[in-house]
């Protein structure tokens, strides 16, 4: 005699609505374990079966996965911050103050966004370090490494453009120091080798384009905001999609080539 709860569950599981959502039962069988991966768009990033060493945290350090997780956390907290933030010089700083003092969970959201961003820079570097040390950039994964290098630079640019947005002393001076370099770009900077010869001035060189002015000012804030919230995350998301797709296409996580005894 089944209890009332079990009876209800069985009934529910036989309805058309339930079956249209969950396409297989939850019994622990080989088949269901495979379907669990195949029938789920998110888990379907994975293959159904992988070699055991690839599940070992000592091999991958989990750093690629953590980097991706942090990117997701940054997207969620970032969207929440956008509700409270206006990228104009007269508002930006006050909005931050408001967020830190008067918004429920405002400081938590900002702190999580800030610390996750720092952490992501660290984990992406460690991920690269691991991929190098296991030689995982070697054939057939050469190009996925190159995509990775672009992801690394995007991560740094994301962090850098975000640094300006609080519009405090720390922000504008760190960005001033960072963007002053652009002046020295060969050919394209007003103080770079061959720059003046090619007609580069402080008000038309590559730094001017980046900042929208001759110094870090309100136009820079708007530029960095758009780059930070729209352009760079979009590109990063596209490249991550390619990165993950290629991991699958390149035969999953790298491992010793057991067939040819080269290990």
């Amino acid at each position: 005699m089944l209890g009332i709860v079990e009876q209800l569950r069985d009934k529910m599981q036989r309805t058309e609505v339930y079956k249209s959502i969950f396409r297989h039962s939850y019994q622990d069988t080989q088949r269901n374990r495979a379907l669990q991966i195949l029938d789920n768009v998110f888990l379907h990033l994975h293959p159904v079966r992988i070699s055991r060493h690839a599940t070992n945290i000592g091999f991958t350090w989990g750093m690629g996965g953590i980097t991706f997780l942090l990117f997701i956390i940054l997207t969620v907290t970032g969207v929440i911050l956008m509700f409270y933030y206006r990228p104009a010089a007269e508002y930006a700083y006050d909005d931050m103050k408001y967020l830190m003092n008067d918004v429920a969970f405002g400081p938590l959201m900002r702190n999580m966004h800030r610390w996750a961003a720092h952490a992501m820079v660290i984990t992406v570097m460690l991920h690269m370090f691991r991929v190098f040390l296991t030689g995982s950039y070697k054939a057939p994964r050469q190009f996925n490494w190159v995509i990775g290098v672009f992801l690394l630079t995007l991560t740094l640019f994301l962090s850098f453009t975000g640094y300006l947005l609080p519009w405090d002393q720390l922000a504008i001076w760190a960005v001033t120091v960072g963007t002053n370099m652009a002046r020295a770009t060969p050919f394209l900077g007003s103080e770079g080798p061959f720059g003046p010869e090619l007609g580069m001035r402080i008000d038309n060189d590559v730094r001017f384009v980046l900042l929208g002015g001759t110094q870090v000012g309100p136009p820079t804030l708007l530029r960095f905001y758009v780059l930070h919230c729209i352009f760079l995350p979009l590109i990063a998301a596209v490249l991550m999609t390619v990165h993950f797709w290629r991991i699958r296409k390149d035969g999953g996580i790298s491992g010793p080539d057991v067939s040819t005894k080269k290990f």
């Binding site: 945290i57 953590i66 040390l133 190009f143 405090d168 060969p186 080539d257 080269k262």
Partner: protein, 295 residues
């Protein structure tokens, strides 16, 4: 000591302490795994080459890992507030003005090189060099498992760049650079009025007594000649090594194009610490001064 604790626990510096700890740990961890594999006939990874189902064996690890990361991040964010300083003021330059921490290695290079090298050339070469790695490292061994024996040159070169030139310069920039970008020990008080007398000389002046500029302040062609000779001489080491070793299987398989890229990147990377040492030990500023750029 108090001052040391203060900069180590400054909210924005905690990640750097974290990074330092993690890099040291993982360098040791990977070295241990590599050396262990090197002692064995069959690598640890090859012993685990059998297949398992992703659900639950991998998904479980990912799930627990994600929980752990989110827990740490939540505690971190409850405990420590992100800094918010005074409102932006373009007329008030803080001293020191530091770039975000991950660029401090490049900012450190500014002490030793002109901005077009430290700020533009070096980062471009880092990105280019990283992208080139899979195509210039043609050693098929050590793919998918930890090892040291089978890829000594590759691993040592990468670790030199990553640990010594990237990570430790970030640490130097964060903890040892104070007002005026002068070196301060972490326990030293940041004295904004400290002036360090610098008498920089150029290479040709120091070693050959040939001044960079003539009495009428135009560039001295002799100094330029010496400078060019040194720079070209440095890179021709790569050519000399090629001629010497061109018969060996490694160099032959590498081919001249790949070899040139490897040699150029390697010599450029090695030139960085050499210039640093020349500056610190001998106060040498430039190797080569031309009307357009200085090296």
């Amino acid at each position: 000591m108090e001052h040391l604790l203060k900069i180590m626990t400054k909210p924005d510096n905690i990640p750097i302490v974290l990074m330092l700890g993690l890099t040291i740990f993982y360098t040791w961890f990977a070295a241990r795994k590599g050396l262990k594999n090197d002692r064995q006939e069959v690598s640890e990874e090859a012993k685990q080459a059998d297949k398992v189902q992703v659900w639950p064996y991998l998904v479980k690890v990912e799930f627990l890992g994600a929980l752990l990361v989110m827990a740490i991040l939540t505690f971190w964010s409850f405990g420590i507030d992100a800094p918010l300083e005074q409102s932006a003021n373009p007329t008030l330059t803080p001293n020191p003005s530091k770039a975000p921490w991950y660029f401090l290695g490049l900012q450190e290079m500014l002490v030793y090189f002109d901005p077009w090298i430290a700020g533009v050339l070096v980062p471009s070469l880092i990105v280019f060099g990283l992208c080139a790695i899979p195509y210039i490292d043609i050693n098929p061994k050590g793919n998918g498992y930890y090892t040291f024996k089978e890829r000594k040159f590759a691993i040592l070169t990468f670790e030199f760049g990553f640990l010594l030139l990237w990570v430790s310069l970030i640490v130097l920039g964060t903890f040892f650079r104070g007002p005026g970008w002068n070196i301060f020990m972490p326990w030293e008080y940041w004295d904004t009025h400290r002036v360090v007398a610098l008498v920089n000389v150029d290479f040709s002046q120091f070693f050959f007594g040939v001044p960079t500029r003539l009495v009428d302040d135009t560039l001295n062609p002799m100094a330029m000649l010496i400078g060019s000779f040194i720079v070209l001489g440095w890179y021709s080491l790569g050519v000399a090594y090629y001629i010497w070793k061109r018969g060996t299987p490694v160099i032959r398989k590498l081919g001249s194009l790949r070899y040139s890229i490897v040699a150029f990147l390697f010599l450029t990377m090695m030139a960085l610490p050499i210039k640093v040492i020349l500056r610190i030990a001998l106060n040498i500023k430039y190797i080569l001064v031309t009307p357009w750029f200085n090296i």
